[in-house]
Point group: C2
Chain length 87, copies 2
Amino acid sequence: MARVVVDVMLKPEILDPQGQAVQRALPRLGFEGIADVRQGKRFELEVEGPVDEAALARIHEMAETFLANTVIEDFTVRVDEPAEAGS
Amino acid sequence: MARVVVDVMLKPEILDPQGQAVQRALPRLGFEGIADVRQGKRFELEVEGPVDEAALARIHEMAETFLANTVIEDFTVRVDEPAEAGS
């Protein structure tokens, strides 16, 4: 089964209090050199059947109408490539 | 300034009620063919200076101790590559 990832982030011009809270906490915790933090959502969708143009278009529509609030959020849709796993 | 992305997802064996709620809502909204949804967090960190081995190791430690709860969550750290923007 193929995995499609939808990332939803606040638009750059929208204030992100969650990200700010993280960024301000980092120096207190001993982590310097991070100029900005934005926090968003990541959806991993397990798709039945082939992930073709039509399926991606459907997921794009789903993200636009349901997963993201496009007034304040941007989103990206992509087929997942395995990344280096942490811990 | 370089951007590093930390993705934090619940471990596969941990129940994800947020993702389940999304998955169950999709057929009602006319979207079929999604077998499973997991919802997690995405952090975008703007890093001052070069993103070398040392910086990535530091961010890995930050993710492990602060951004993720490694009892129930897995995380990945990667340098951001621009993806296809939605909407």
